[in-house]
Amino acid sequence: MSAKFLLPHKFKKLGFCMFPLGLTGWIVAQLGWFDKFLSSLNFRFPGIQIILIFSFFTFLIGLYFIAFSKEKWEDEFISKLRLESFQFAALIQISFFIISFLYILVSGNEPANDSFLMLFFILAIFIFWLSYILKFNLSLFQNKLKNFKEGK
């Protein structure tokens, strides 16, 4: 991937803070725990939707920062790892689609409604980006670990 599309390295740390915070906030808001907590304090908060939107965007932007931040040394080896990770993520996503459609075909359980289908496609998108982030960071970590062991 061309480095001109990448953000400075400091955004990666920011992403790693925003991503879990946003995800946790979104899950907590979805489960209605904010409502329960605020009502236990006899406080009516009118904008639970605002919390949902805010936390989801924090999660999304965190994901973007992690995936598109430069490493300290963004060189050709890192570019190769990025390319391999993209290929791996694409393979995982296409496997997810094939397995899902095969499941629908074999079991006959069609998506109940449009919102279910929407959720399915959103999940497919996140599977791609999460696989990419996992594969890329794991490859970097493995390489560092091998180098460390060799250096001992």
Partner: protein
Amino acid sequence: MKNKVKGVRIENGMTQTELADELGVSRQTIFAIETSMYVPSTVLALKISRLFKKKVEDLFELEKKD
């Protein structure tokens, strides 16, 4: 592709970090090249050979599987 980068680097009394700094790449990249996990680009291979004042063929060697 086999290479003799590690041997030549040690002969020249350089650490991986020093070589990485000279070439403008990361230490991870030098390690990956030395362990044949990564085949460098033509530009990087030429930079390495120029730094050690050797021919590219003296540092990098094709294997049968290549």
